[in-house]
C-alpha cells in the first residue's frame, strides 16, 4: 500500500514537473511581451521593467530560478497585476473555482447516478426512453448556449438569481447548474449503462429472484459494483470540467482561476499563467490520486501495488 502510494505520488510529481517545463518554455517563445499596453513605453522604461522581473537573464537561469521559487512555494510576482503576487491572486481565485467546479461535479455525479439508476431499473420503458433521450440531448447543448440563456431567463427576465459576481450563496446557483448540465447528461448515460450491466450479473439476478425489495437489491448489490466506472470517470470529468468552467467564469464574471488563466494567457502574464497551470495541474492530479484510492477500495478485484491496466 505504502509503496503503491509512493509510486503514484512520484508519478504525479514527474507529470507536474513535465507540465511546468513545457508551459514555461512555451510561454517564452510567444511573440509580444508582458509590458505591451494600449499606451507606449519608452525603450529605457521597458529595459527597467525587464530587469526588475529578471527577463534579461538567460532562459535557463530564469527556468532554474522559477523551479527554485516553486519549491519554496513562491509563485512570484504577477507581471500585470503589479499590486499583487500570483500567490495572493490564486488564493482569491481558487476557492471560487473549487466551489463552482466541486458543486457542478457533485451535482452532475449525484443526479446523474440517480437518473441513470432510475432509467436502468425501468429499462426500455417510457421513463428510460425519456431519460436516455434527455441525457443524449443534454450533451448537445454546451455551456456556451445554456449559460447565456440561463442568465437571460433567471436573472434578467425573472430576477430570481444574480446575473454575475460572487458574493452570496445565491451567486453560485446558476454557474454551477450551467456547468453541471453536460456532465449530468454524461453521468446519467454512464450510470445507466453500468447499472444495466450489473443487473445482469448472476448474484444480482439471484437476489431479485429471491424476492428481495428492489431498494435493498440496489443498495446492497447493484450500486457497489455499478459505481466503479462512475468513480473512475470522476478524474477525467474534473479535468474536462475545466474547459467549461472558463466559459462559465467568463459569462458570470466570476473571479476564478479560469478567468485568471484566460486573461493571463491573453495578456502574456507569464507568471500568472504558470501559477494557474501549476495549481490546476496539482489540484487535478491530487483529485485523481484520491479517486484512484477510492477506486481501489471499491473494486476488490484490483490488487494494490499492481497496475489496473490489465482490464
Amino acid at each position: 500500500m505504502t509503496r503503491y502510494l509512493a509510486g503514484r505520488l512520484l508519478a504525479s510529481l514527474v507529470t507536474l514537473w513535465a507540465v511546468v517545463t513545457v508551459v514555461f518554455f512555451l510561454l517564452r517563445v510567444a511573440p509580444g511581451g508582458p509590458f505591451d499596453g494600449e499606451r507606449r513605453l519608452t525603450p529605457e522604461v521597458e529595459a527597467n521593467l525587464r530587469a526588475a522581473y529578471h527577463l534579461d537573464e538567460p532562459l535557463l537561469d530564469q527556468y532554474g530560478r522559477y523551479l527554485g521559487m516553486l519549491l519554496r512555494g513562491d509563485l512570484g510576482p504577477s507581471f500585470r497585476s503589479k499590486d499583487f503576487t500570483v500567490g495572493e491572486l490564486i488564493a482569491g481565485g481558487l476557492p471560487v473555482s473549487l466551489t463552482i467546479g466541486g458543486l457542478a461535479l457533485a451535482l452532475a455525479a449525484g443526479l446523474g447516478v440517480a437518473a441513470g439508476t432510475g432509467a436502468a431499473l425501468a429499462r426500455d420503458g417510457p421513463r428510460d426512453r425519456w431519460l436516455t433521450f434527455a441525457a443524449t440531448a443534454g450533451l448537445a447543448f454546451p455551456p456556451i448556449v445554456v449559460a447565456p440563456l440561463l442568465v437571460l431567463i433567471f436573472a434578467v427576465v425573472l430576477g430570481w438569481l444574480p446575473a454575475g459576481g460572487f458574493t452570496t450563496p445565491a451567486h453560485v446557483v446558476l454557474p454551477a447548474v450551467a456547468l453541471a448540465l453536460p456532465y449530468l447528461a454524461a453521468f446519467t448515460r454512464l450510470a445507466r449503462g453500468s447499472v444495466v450491466q450489473t443487473l445482469a450479473l448472476p448474484h444480482v439476478r439471484t437476489a431479485i429472484a429471491k424476492g428481495l425489495p428492489t431498494r435493498r437489491v440496489v443498495v446492497r448489490h447493484v450500486l457497489p459494483t455499478a459505481l466503479i466506472p462512475v468513480v473512475s470517470f470522476l478524474g477525467p470529468a474534473a479535468a474536462a470540467l475545466l474547459a467549461g468552467s472558463m466559459v462559465i467564469e467568463e459569462v458570470f464574471s466570476l473571479p476564478g482561476l479560469g478567468r485568471y488563466f484566460v486573461q493571463g494567457a491573453l495578456n502574456r502574464d507569464y507568471t500568472l499563467v504558470m501559477g494557474t497551470v501549476v495549481v490546476y495541474a496539482t489540484a487535478i492530479l491530487a483529485f485523481n490520486l484520491a479517486v484512484d484510492l477510492l477506486y481501489t477500495r471499491l473494486d476488490p478485484r484490483i490488487r494494490l501495488g499492481r497496475t489496473r491496466l490489465g482490464e
Binding site: P31, G32, F35, D36, G37, E38, R39, R40, T42, E44, V45, N48, L49, S81, K82, D83, F84, E88, L89, G92, G93, P95, T99, I100, G102, L103, A104, A106, L107, G110, L111, V113, A114, T117, G118, L121, V151, A155, V156, G159, P162, A163, G164, G165, F166, T167, T168, T214, R215, V218, L223, E250, V251, S253, P255, G256, R259, Q263, L266, R268
Partner: protein, 528 residues
C-alpha cells in the same frame, strides 16, 4: 424505490463538493453606494505605474493633482487653488490650498509634489507613462538615467508653492496635469511601506475617496476621505468598481439591477436599449480618433497612390450610420472633431461614386487591376465591435477590386506588433487630451514606435517643430493646421471616426454630465 437512497447520495456529494469553497463576501452595500462597471481589472493603483484608462478612472477618485476636472470635464483648480504662467510659457507657478490634506491627516505640501515628479521620472520606478511629463525640463534625461532625479525642473520654494520649468513652451500643460502621472504621492507613507503602500487599508491618498478594499477580479471599494478639502460636497457613501470585462455580462448585470452604471454594452442590443431603456442610455462622443494606419516601409504601401486609393474607398458615413449605429462622429481629420479652437483643413468633397472612380484609377496607375488584384492584410483588435467595422471596410475595398485578409489579435499583442512594425494595414486608435498636438504628434518621424507606420516627412516635421516652439496659442494652432494638411496629403493614415461611449446610467443618479473626456468623478455624483 431507490429514491431515498438517491437523495441521500446526492446530499453527500453536495456536502463534499461544497466543502471546498466558502468565500463569504461582504454584505451588500448600502443604498448610497454607487456600483460602477469599469470594463476590466486594474493592473495597479499606483498612479506612477498605471497604464490603462480604467485605472485612471479609479485613480481620479483617489487622488487629485495640481489641476483637475469638474463634472463637465473642464479643467479647474485641484490641489492648487491658482496658478500662473510666465510670458515665455516656460515657467508655471502653482499655489497649493492651505487645507489640502492626505487621508491620514498629514498636510499635502509642495515637497510631496517634488517627490512625486522625481519618483515618476526616476528610471527605478519603471513608470510606463513617464513620458507624459517629458515637457518638464530635463525630464527625458532623468528618465533615461542620464541625469539624477534632482536635476528635474520642479522646485518647492515654499511649503505651498510648486514651480515647474518646461523644456519648451507647452500651452496644454494644465490639461496634462489632470492625469495620474501628475498626482502627488505620500512620501511619508511610501518611505515607510515601500511598494506595499498601495494595499487596501494602507493606501494614503489626497482625493475625495480612499481605497477600502480590493478583491482581484471581484470588486474595488472606495469610501469618502474625511480629510478631503471639499468633503462636504461629496454625497456618495462609497463607490464599488466592478471589473466587467465582458460587455454582455455587464449588460445583463446592469439589467438585473446589480450595477448602477456601465461604460459599454454590446452594440447589437442598441435597438432594444433605445426602445426599453431610453432614459438610461448615455451616448457620449469621446475626444478620440479611430484610424487605419499604413506601414509605409512595406511595399506596396510605400506608394502614396495605393494608400490614397484605400483611404478614399472608405465611406465614413456608411460606417458610423449603418454599421456602428451609435452616433459616432465621422472624421476625415486626424484631430477629433470636438477639439476646441481647431478647424482641420482636411475635408471630403467628392461623392462616393467619384471617390470609387478615382480610387480605381489610382490603383490602376499603381499597377493593380482585375487581373492583378491588390492583396491587403488588415489587422484589428479582437472584439465584436471592431470586427463589424473591419468587415465593412473590407467589403468597401471589395468594390475597388481589393482582396482583404482579416487578422485579429488581442489588444496587447495587436499594439505590440504595431509598435514593431509587423503589419501592412491596421486598425489603431488614440485618445486622451483635448488638443490637436496630442494626435498630430503620432506622425512626427522621431515620435518613436507609436508612429506605427514609420511615416517620415521632412516638411511635416519642420512645421510641427515650429509649432512646438511657439508660445502663442493662436499661431501654434495655425501651424498645426498647416502641418496636418501637409502630412495627410501623403495619406500615412486614414482617419475614420471619433468613438462614442455607449453607456447605461441609472436615471436616479445625478451629476452625470456628458463630456468629451468621458470623465465622471464620483465626488460630483449623487443619488436623486
Amino acid at each position: 424505490m431507490p429514491l431515498l437512497l438517491v437523495v441521500f447520495f446526492f446530499l453527500v456529494c453536495v456536502g463534499v463538493g461544497g466543502g471546498g469553497g466558502g468565500v463569504g463576501g461582504p454584505p451588500p452595500p448600502d443604498a448610497r453606494v454607487l456600483r460602477i462597471g469599469n470594463g476590466g481589472e486594474p493592473e495597479t493603483l499606483d498612479p506612477h505605474r498605471y497604464n490603462l484608462r480604467l485605472e485612471e478612472t479609479i485613480l481620479n477618485d483617489l487622488f487629485v493633482g495640481l489641476t483637475t476636472f469638474d463634472a463637465h470635464g473642464n479643467i479647474v483648480p485641484g490641489a492648487a487653488e491658482r496658478w500662473s504662467v510666465s510670458d515665455d510659457g516656460l515657467t508655471w507657478t502653482f499655489e497649493l490650498r492651505a487645507e489640502g490634506k492626505w487621508s491620514d491627516g498629514h498636510p499635502v505640501t509642495a515637497r510631496d509634489f517634488v517627490y512625486a515628479f522625481r519618483r515618476l521620472l526616476d528610471p527605478r520606478t519603471a513608470a510606463s507613462l513617464a513620458h507624459f511629463m517629458y515637457p518638464i525640463a530635463n525630464a527625458a534625461a532623468v528618465n533615461a538615467g542620464e541625469q539624477p532625479p534632482e536635476a528635474l525642473g520642479v522646485r518647492a520654494p515654499s511649503e505651498r508653492t510648486v514651480v515647474v520649468d518646461l523644456e519648451r513652451p507647452f500651452p496644454f500643460f494644465a490639461e496634462r496635469l489632470i492625469y495620474p502621472t501628475g498626482y502627488p504621492v505620500p512620501a511619508h507613507a511610501i518611505e515607510r511601506l515601500g511598494d506595499r503602500w498601495v494595499k487596501p487599508g494602507r493606501m494614503v491618498s489626497n482625493g475625495a475617496f480612499v481605497l477600502e478594499d480590493w478583491q482581484p477580479h471581484a470588486h474595488i471599494d472606495l469610501r469618502p476621505n474625511p480629510h478631503f478639502h471639499d468633503i462636504d460636497s461629496v454625497a456618495l457613501s462609497g463607490v464599488r468598481y466592478l471589473p466587467t470585462a465582458d460587455s454582455y455580462a455587464a449588460f445583463n448585470r446592469y439589467r438585473a439591477g446589480e450595477i448602477d452604471a456601465i461604460g459599454d454594452f454590446p452594440s447589437g442590443e442598441m435597438d432594444w436599449v433605445r426602445e426599453h431603456l431610453a432614459d438610461h442610455l448615455r451616448l457620449t462622443p469621446l475626444v478620440s480618433i479611430m484610424y487605419l494606419v499604413f506601414n509605409v516601409t512595406k511595399p506596396p504601401f510605400d506608394d502614396a497612390r495605393v494608400r490614397e486609393a484605400l483611404g478614399i474607398a472608405i465611406d465614413r458615413e456608411l460606417l458610423t450610420g449603418r454599421v456602428m449605429q451609435s452616433d459616432e462622429v465621422p472624421s476625415p481629420s486626424l484631430v477629433p472633431p470636438m477639439v476646441p479652437g481647431y478647424t482641420s483643413a482636411v475635408t471630403v468633397v467628392e461623392t462616393r461614386g467619384q471617390r470609387l472612380e478615382r480610387a480605381r484609377r489610382l490603383l490602376a496607375e499603381a499597377g493593380y487591376g482585375s487581373d492583378n488584384p491588390l492583396d491587403v492584410t488588415l489587422r484589428y483588435i479582437s472584439g465584436v465591435e471592431s470586427k463589424r467595422v473591419q468587415v465593412a471596410i473590407s467589403a468597401m475595398w471589395k468594390d475597388i477590386g481589393v482582396v482583404t485578409t482579416l487578422h485579429h489579435t488581442e489588444l496587447k499583442s495587436h499594439f505590440a506588433d504595431l509598435r514593431q512594425g509587423d503589419f501592412e494595414v491596421a486598425q489603431a486608435g488614440w485618445f486622451g487630451e483635448n488638443n490637436p498636438e496630442h494626435y498630430l504628434n503620432l506622425l512626427v518621424s522621431d515620435t518613436g514606435d507609436v508612429n506605427y507606420g514609420r511615416f517620415a516627412s521632412a516638411a511635416f516635421d519642420a512645421l510641427m517643430d515650429r509649432a512646438h516652439a511657439q508660445a502663442d496659442l493662436g499661431r501654434r494652432l495655425e501651424l498645426l493646421r498647416e502641418a496636418e494638411s501637409v502630412g495627410l496629403a501623403e495619406h500615412p493614415v486614414t482617419p475614420l471616426y471619433a468613438v462614442t461611449i455607449r453607456g447605461l446610467v441609472n436615471p436616479r443618479i445625478g451629476g452625470w454630465h456628458a463630456n468629451p473626456r468621458n470623465v465622471h468623478g464620483a465626488r460630483y455624483l449623487y443619488w436623486k
